[in-house]
């Protein structure tokens, strides 16, 4: 049997999968007695119809780009990192510690330090699962799930007992210094003379995320480590035979993955909330799985998929306000995207391959 052409595999199959996922979501909307066409309109207007909507869409997309890249890098090495949520949580802790306990003369220096803190803490949280997989053969999926829960408990403890200022009721850190706030997107576009809505959370983190995507692309396809990573992911025995150390590749892949997930905190904790709160990662770590699957683990695909999920997130919020459809609809769509692009991939691919065979055979 001839395999699918490369272009069809990279674009046709995921597009079909998304179409099926959206079609089923439409049926779900119908089933709860709402109009799917109306819902789509509300989502598109709410998320893309104004620069205000775009501001939120891009803000969410920034977070999802980081976590999507994190999952994608691990996927390339044949590792399934479900721990993005925990690693992003720890990244938030890294950002908060750096910004609270040191005096920074300028936000740009603080940004570099916060990035270093976020990456170090995120990577550190991925290190033990990586080491256990590489040295002890314990499954990384299980350990990263466990580490998500441990991270949540740890953050809970630290916020309640350690970092909460005395006299404050809600479990959160103090606010960071006001002059350390990252430039918002409307300020950045203002320098270029482009008008943009002021009250949106989109910030410089967006640029960091795009830079990270380019760097991940360079790393995967233009460095020795990237080659080793992909070779190991394709065939472990072959990589081993070629002298690639499985322990080294596993550790590097997970450290990079954890660092990328941690970086998400630069967008949320430093860019928007300006302090560390409970449940700071807010599920973005899990959306990274859907984003990486849909983007076929390619940085460009990840950015586009992150944009789609940013749209869904902002559109979902608008839909909840205007149509009384609960926000959980987005969780259902996310689940369907994961199901069809990740788990039922072959179900979509088989008929496509069959159609291609028919086309070729007809000649």
């Amino acid at each position: 049997m001839q395999p699918l052409p490369k272009w069809a595999d990279a674009t046709l199959v995921p597009l079909l999968s998304i179409l099926i996922a959206f079609a089923i979501s439409g049926v779900v909307i119908l089933a709860i007695g709402k109009d799917p066409v109306e819902a789509t309109k509300v989502m598109v207007t709410g998320a893309l119809g104004s620069t205000y909507g775009w501001g939120y869409t891009l803000y969410y997309a920034t977070s999802f780009t980081f976590t999507g890249l994190a999952v994608a890098v691990a996927f390339h090495a044949g590792l399934f990192n479900i721990g993005g949520e925990g690693q992003a949580t720890l990244g938030g802790l890294g950002v908060a510690l750096v910004l609270l306990h040191m005096a920074w003369p300028h936000w740009s220096l603080a940004l570099l330090a916060a990035m270093a803190g976020a990456m170090a803490f995120g990577a550190a949280w991925a290190l033990l699962p990586a080491w256990l997989q590489a040295r002890r053969g314990s499954h990384i999926v299980i350990t990263t799930i466990m580490f998500n829960f441990i991270a949540a408990a740890l953050l809970n403890y630290i916020l309640v007992n350690v970092l909460r200022p005395t006299g404050q009721m809600d479990p959160a850190t103090a606010r960071f210094a006001a002059d350390l706030a990252l430039p918002k997107l409307h300020e950045m576009l203002g320098w270029l003379g482009i008008p943009f809505a002021r009250r949106t959370p989109a910030n410089l983190g967006l640029v960091v995320a795009l830079a990270a995507a380019v760097l991940v692309w360079g790393l995967l396809w233009h460095t020795r480590l990237g080659f080793q990573l992909r070779a190991f992911g394709k065939s472990e025995p072959a990589a081993r035979y070629a002298g690639i150390s499985p322990v080294r590749v596993t550790l590097y892949a997970m450290l990079i993955s954890g660092a990328l997930a941690g970086l998400m905190a630069v967008n949320t904790v430093m860019g928007e909330q300006q302090r560390l709160v409970m449940n700071a990662a807010g599920g973005a770590g899990f959306i990274g799985i859907a984003v990486a699957l849909m983007g076929r683990s390619h940085p460009l695909g990840v950015v586009l998929a992150a944009l789609l999920f940013g749209f869904l997130y902002q559109g979902g919020a608008e839909m909840a306000i205007w149509m009384q459809i609960p926000r959980e609809l987005i969780v259902v769509i996310q689940a369907l995207v994961i199901l069809f692009t990740g788990a039922l991939d072959n179900m979509v691919r088989m008929p496509v391959a069959w159609a291609f065979r028919l086309l070729r055979g007809g000649r």
Partner: protein
């Protein structure tokens, strides 16, 4: 700490262990057959919702039970389709099932009841009530044994007793029946099973459906016996604790009971003492919350004996072409 407090912690242990035990045995069947299942949580959650919702509407806990189990079985079929028929990634299928349940339950709950993602509170016939075991009255006067029997052993819902009876049943099925032998074989070496002329696909589907049934019962217990109704995300990570217990138990039924009793005990202590004062140190509640996961990591690190999963776990079986 007095006797009454100890008895109440032990009683809580049984109550809180029950859903963990049912979910853990569910995972045991699936994983012993070579199908990894991180979707225990989702199947439990959807069963919890549909059992509570239908019990509230029909006024009968038994009708609720049927609905809850049916919902979990539907998700089990999806898991089977993805991981057996279409040979997809079993872990990713599990993740999808968890999100599907998390989203659908709230969506449907809001649509049916408009109570902010919960069901009405269950009472009377709509809820599984505690059973008073025989001998409770007879033993009431006996010191220690009387209160122990009356408080800890007696007074649980039928499903709790069913869960603990499922342990010897699982052991018997796995180690004393032909089906059990084949089930274990298909998790270790599916090619050998296939060579013997037995359908790998059918066996794995059977295991996945048993898993769905047991997860369903766990969810039904959560919503109609442990609590009186469904609230958003009420499984609260229990599916993952069950998964941890399964590794802790090294995929064996009796050890699964031991592990889930231990984790149920920890939850019971954490519920009763938010801050556990041991005299020398005060153990924060967050630490006890995280303890099952920490213990699992320690086990996985191999410090307390090695946990080796079924050899063919996580991979779809591809028949050789003749």
């Amino acid at each position: 700490m007095d006797v009454a407090a100890i008895l109440s912690i032990l009683e809580g242990t049984i109550r809180l262990s029950t859903p963990l035990l049912l979910a853990c045995l569910a995972g045991l069947f699936s994983e012993r057959a070579g199908v990894f299942d991180i979707g225990l949580e989702g199947k439990m959650l959807i069963a919890a919702f549909f059992s509570a919702a239908v019990a509230a509407l029909a006024g009968s806990a038994w009708v609720g039970l049927a609905a809850g189990v049916a919902a979990a079985l539907v998700l089990a079929v999806i898991h089977g389709l993805a991981s057996i028929t279409f040979r997809g990634n079993q872990l990713i299928a599990g993740v999808a099932i968890n999100f599907l349940a998390a989203g659908l339950t709230v969506l449907v709950a809001e649509n049916w009841f408009r109570l902010g993602g919960r069901t009405p509170s269950l009472s009377g016939e709509a809820r599984f009530q505690g059973l008073t075991l025989p001998l409770t009255e007879t033993l009431a006067g006996v010191p220690l044994l009387g209160p122990f029997w009356g408080t800890v052993i007696s007074g649980h819902a039928l499903l709790a007793y069913l869960a603990f009876l499922a342990v010897p049943a699982t052991w018997w099925i796995l180690y004393r029946t032909r089906f059990g032998l084949r089930l274990r074989a298909v998790g270790e070496n599916p090619a050998a099973v296939d060579t013997a002329g037995i359908s790998v696909v059918a066996l794995r589907y059977a295991a996945v459906m048993i898993c769905g049934l047991l997860c369903g019962l766990a969810g039904v217990y959560l919503a109609t016996a442990l609590s009186a109704g469904f609230v958003k995300d009420m499984s609260g990570g229990r599916g993952f604790i069950a998964l941890a217990a399964l590794i802790f138990a090294k995929w064996r039924p009796w050890s699964a009971m031991g592990a889930t009793l231990l984790f149920g005990f920890l939850q019971s202590v954490a519920t009763r003492f938010p801050r556990l004062d041991l005299g020398i140190v005060v153990v924060p509640a967050q630490f006890i919350d995280a303890l099952p996961y920490l213990l699992t990591v320690v086990i996985l690190a191999g410090f307390v004996g090695k946990a080796i999963p079924p050899r063919a776990g996580g991979t779809a079986y591809v028949k050789e072409h003749g």
